[in-house]
Point group: C2
Chain length 351, copies 2
């Protein structure tokens, strides 16, 4: 039996809780493990407990120490934001827990140090849900394609922006109308600037660059251009060339020169490509390796239920072998950041 605590009871946290409390929770035939949710920590624990229902055997608390001093094996962090989330992850590892997080900012800024701390503690630090929702891209890049030498990642990594742009594409609406619609459907927050401006996607791209190329990359070093100015006319112009507009995150690594080029920006892509066909909150990634050529992966990039699948996959991986050794990545600062030429919305500089 593996005991799990949950930090943060928002969209993702509540979906994780719901799934873990399902009476018929079947964790894959390859992960024959019993997993029990025993603690839920949230600032508004009292209120949320009464709304959600207590859940048999679950302790609700608004004191982090109740989790740190408990006998849980795994802490799932779904709080969001850099602090206090990073501190709580660090304290959990220090207290001998493994940690699963969906927090891309924590991983992008402090992931390497937290992973090293986990390894020193003989525990694990996993974050499949921090990038790409349900699509298992962290495993693909760090594990499945580990035998290749990866050279390029081109991806749609922000579900909110993709939902807004694909809605504008399909209906001819303005961005503010598409945003209002996305908010109604739960795809966009009140302030979507972190999504549209590329801050969310560059944190995720920085994580993938670390795993794929071994670079110790501050996400703020990745060039961005905001998608907030995209208007119906941009789609009309793109359409004349059989294209459409998507927020693309791209990184190219030149191993012979240790040179990285990385950007996040709205770009014109062919309408009938894997990028142009991504609608709603879908995420996509095309990963190029010297030996395997192009490998692609796509799936629901946002939403509580999809992200909960990634979280529970990580929990199951830890639960099935709690003594597993997961060596921290070897990240190097010895690389050059090449000035990115951000795409303009013309086909000449398309993806």
């Amino acid at each position: 039996m593996t005991r799990v605590a949950l930090l943060g009871f928002g969209t993702v946290g509540s979906a994780v809780a719901r799934r873990l409390l399902e009476s018929d929770l079947v964790v894959s035939p390859v992960n024959p493990t019993r997993i029990a949710l025993t603690h839920i920590f949230d600032r508004h624990a009292d209120e949320k407990c009464s709304t959600f229902g207590a859940g048999a055997g679950v302790t609700w608390t608004s004191r982090i120490d109740d989790v740190l001093r408990s006998d849980v094996d795994i802490v799932v962090e779904a709080v969001g934001g850099v602090e206090p989330a990073t501190g709580w992850v660090r304290q959990s590892l220090a207290a001998g827990k493994s940690v699963v997080t969906v927090n891309k900012q924590v991983v992008a800024r402090h992931g390497a140090a937290l992973w090293r701390l986990a390894a020193r503690q003989g525990r694990q630090f996993r974050f499949e849900g921090a990038v790409g929702g349900a699509m298992p891209i962290v495993r693909a890049v760090s594990d499945g394609l580990a035998g290749d030498r990866l050279t390029r990642i081109v991806a749609i990594l922000n579900g909110t922006t993709n939902a807004v742009l694909s809605e504008m594409d399909a209906t001819g609406r303005t961005m503010s109308a598409a945003l209002a619609d996305a908010r109604r459907r739960g795809f966009a927050e009140a302030d979507p600037s972190a999504d549209l401006d590329g801050e969310d996607a560059r944190a995720k791209l920085a994580i993938l660059c670390a795993l794929a190329f071994g670079v110790d990359l501050d996400p703020r070093a990745i060039a961005v251009r905001s998608a907030s100015g995209i208007a119906p006319g941009d789609f009309e112009r793109a359409r004349r060339a059989n294209g459409t507009v998507r927020q693309i995150a791209r990184a190219d690594y030149d191993w012979s020169r240790s040179t990285l080029t990385a950007w996040v920006a709205p770009a014109v892509v062919p309408a009938q490509s894997i990028f142009g066909m991504a609608v709603g909150a879908q995420n996509v990634a095309l990963i190029t390796g010297e030996h395997s050529g192009e490998v692609g992966i796509f799936g629901a990039g946002a939403g509580g239920a999809a992200t909960a699948v990634a979280v529970i996959g990580d929990v199951a991986s830890i639960a099935r072998d709690r003594a597993a050794i997961v060596p921290p990545p070897r990240l190097s600062s010895d690389f050059t950041m090449r000035q990115a030429e951000l795409p303009t919305l013309s086909f000449a500089e398309a993806v």
Copy 2:
């Protein structure tokens, strides 16, 4: 240092050897492990050794006992066929080695027993390269999506047939002309019947059904219709409905009734779908889960270099934690096989 032996020096085996002997072998930043190829077993070891070049520190042999009695940690099986390959895998596990295989027939027919043997021995049995070449679908289904309850797999799993059909599609050629072309380009064997008739794809589908649904499935129970009779006229008819023809492998599992429906057959698919757009030896899989919706993955489904990436990913996974416990899957025979309605080449029964 992890020592590796290779069984079988054909297309895949020689690609694995080439990659392991590359002086700049970089195994992902997350797998900081030294891996050394120390033994190559092949029936024609002498001849192949002189053609390939010996490789520093590599022992070539045509006696399996030289591998079984050696101090290698991992045996890579790239022999093909059910026997003697299965026997050699069993003997390797019995001798305390972990095994990585690319052999879908061995995994589909004897995988569960071999995995249990590996677990009893405290060793690992891995087979990412047995399905989908470079695309990491075994990890996606058994690990990344382990937190979901998977209900459907629709896929293109045979690179040879896809290369032939997509060539017929693009050029209007007959099957025999497309086959001759595929042979020239190394995509098809002299006798392509196992590919066209669906035997190869159903072995791979059976493996995915075991991992996704926990069913103990004899691949010969999967309904098949051969693609060998597909003619240019079939493409013309499909095209009039914006479709094309591909060999599709599909499995649906009803968890409430423990009922499986599975088939491999040529089918009409929309030309602008992920299936219709798969050309050459590409493989694709669309995996549906109750919680994550649809997750897709695609990549080079055949070819030595691509399959070698999958093999080395598995070798690296084992090397980084040789004491890892990978519990064998819980497979059940307690399910009903529903009679599959094989698709006809009309849109009414399209995927």
